[in-house]
């Protein structure tokens, strides 16, 4: 396949503007949320939730294909939201369990979402292609309605995280100390988890499970390596997430790659770059 080149990309900017804005917004929000995901050592949570979000979409398509569009459940967005939030709520009940048991339930949720999605895909007929798009990401075109959803979701989630940032940070870094100082630890943890679940649910339908998982882990990994404090890491992760979303989309067009894979690869490259920056900084500091 011949590469399209960046000139062709910029010539068709009008066509790609909305997907790039959507990718940037999603990358920024998930990049910021990813800092909490990494700090709380729940990387597998976002993988599990994105699979459950996919399952919600598959369930809606399956319901529509078999029983017609007569129920709320046939709305992919609604079904995905319900399944993801329900999974997050169930997982939050197990916060006092041992780490091994928590990990086991995350594995259960991941496999339930992944296996369920693939199983339903075989019963949807033409919807199978849509399922593949959701799993691996193909945000080639973003509908105006989707862009609006991304914008409203991003503003709402970012607003909550700016407002409650200090509380979210405290329960992520040292929950026992926060509890002793009287912070509403349980509420903060549930709200943090639900905001992550909401973001994953909304964005999985638009970008796909693969880039959503990548954005919720990789920019935060890189940001935590190059930042001197956590608030800085939040800002850096949001910026790197936005860069992964937009540059990944451009690379997908120019080099003929699947969008989700391209965005994940850019995020991976950023992590590798951050390791070099870290290494160079430490080396300079030691000489």
């Amino acid at each position: 396949m011949q590469d399209a080149g960046f000139d062709a990309f910029f010539e068709a900017w009008e066509l790609f503007r909305d997907p790039i804005i959507a990718g940037s917004l999603v990358g920024a929000v998930l990049g910021l949320l990813g800092v909490y995901v990494v700090l709380r050592r729940m990387v597998f949570l976002s993988a599990a939730l994105s699979q459950c979000a996919s399952f919600g979409v598959a369930l809606a398509l399956f319901t529509e294909a078999n029983w017609g569009a007569t129920m709320m459940l046939t709305s992919p967005r609604f079904a995905s939201l319900i399944v993801t939030l329900a999974t997050a709520t169930l997982l939050s009940w197990g916060r006092d369990a041992t780490a091994a048991r928590r990990d086991s339930w995350l594995g259960f949720a991941f496999l339930f979402g992944a296996a369920g999605t693939l199983a339903l895909a075989t019963r949807i007929g033409s919807g199978n292609q849509e399922i593949q798009a959701i799993l691996f990401g193909s945000a080639v075109a973003v509908l105006p309605n989707d862009l609006l959803t991304v914008a409203i979701g991003s503003i709402g989630i970012l607003g909550l995280h700016v407002w409650w940032r200090r509380g979210f940070l405290q329960v992520s870094v040292d929950p026992e100390a926060a509890f002793v100082r009287g912070l509403p630890v349980r509420l903060l943890e549930v709200m943090l988890l639900l905001s992550i679940a909401l973001a994953i649910s909304l964005f999985t339908q638009i970008l796909g499970a693969l880039p959503v998982f990548a954005f919720s882990v990789l920019p935060a990994m890189a940001a935590l390596r190059v930042s001197i404090h956590v608030p800085m890491a939040l800002a850096v992760a949001a910026a790197l997430g936005a860069a992964s979303g937009s540059i990944g989309y451009a690379f997908a067009f120019v080099y003929g790659l699947p969008v989700g894979a391209s965005q994940a690869l850019v995020a991976l490259a950023i992590v590798v770059g951050s390791e070099f920056v870290r290494f160079a900084t430490r080396r300079r500091g030691s000489t």
Binding site: V173, A177, L183, L224
Partner: protein, 253 residues
């Protein structure tokens, strides 16, 4: 002194039984902790000291009895091992500032944080470490930074769990000197767990001796508790050895 002249109680426990999964590990404990007192919680490794402390803090549910914090109490806690994850970027000032938020205060914009942080690191004698990453500190320096974080919210009750567990004797002495100063000069109430009992000599005003194996709890003035026949018959005199009670039972929990 008459009871009417005593400072108001900051903490009262009545028949408090501590333990896990609804099973008590110690007999009921009755204590009243007042402003400016220094309570030493002593006992061998695995005797229930930390379980008692975590119950006071609300991190464990009491098996029976009650505990009540007074309305004036502002509690800060220094854990035995705080989370110092080297992968988390955390400058001293950011780590200390995190101790500032109380209750729903995290929703309000704050003024004067910097001054409070500076004062806390000064009191904990770690001001010279500002700007450094927490992960790069020695154990003794980490202990001081933890103390600064506990002090930043101006507590009147400071609860510390083995604050000098991994430090040398010089640093240990300096940390306890700092704590004693806080008590004498600011009236901060101290509740400190340590198995190295010599650190309490000449400092602690009260003591709680816990012995899970022997099913015993002794409470009262420090002098009375360390001289109690029950304790002496089981463990001999306290405070003579740098490792205190731990030396009599070997090491490790």
């Amino acid at each position: 002194m008459s009871s009417a002249a005593k400072p108001s109680a900051l903490l009262t426990t009545t028949g408090l039984v501590v333990g896990y999964e609804r099973r008590g590990i110690l007999p009921p404990i009755d204590v009243t902790v007042r402003r400016g007192e220094f309570w030493a919680i002593v006992g061998v490794n695995g005797s229930g000291k930390t379980t008692f402390l975590r119950t006071l803090l609300g991190l464990l549910v009491p098996v029976a009895g009650s505990l009540e914090w007074g309305p004036e109490s502002r509690v800060s806690y220094v854990a035995q091992r705080s989370e110092f994850d080297a992968s988390v970027p955390n400058r001293i000032e950011d780590f200390v500032r995190a101790g500032f938020d109380r209750d729903w205060s995290f929703l309000r914009f704050r003024h004067g944080d910097r001054r409070a942080v500076e004062q806390a690191v000064e009191e904990a004698r770690c001001g010279h470490l500002m700007g450094q990453q927490v992960s790069s500190l020695s154990e003794g320096q980490k202990g001081r930074v933890r103390l600064a974080r506990a002090l930043v919210s101006s507590p009147n009750v400071l609860i510390l769990d083995e604050p000098t567990n991994a430090v040398d004797s010089v640093t240990e002495h300096a940390i306890f000197e700092t704590l004693d100063e806080l008590r004498r000069e600011q009236g901060v109430t101290l509740v400190v767990v340590s198995h190295r009992t010599h650190v309490f000599a000449g400092r602690a005003t009260h003591a709680i001796f816990v012995d899970r194996d022997g099913g015993a709890v002794l409470t009262g003035s420090f002098e009375d508790v360390v001289k109690a026949p029950e304790l002496l018959s089981r463990h001999g005199p306290l405070g003579g050895h740098p490792d205190g009670l731990a030396s009599r039972r070997g090491s490790g929990e």
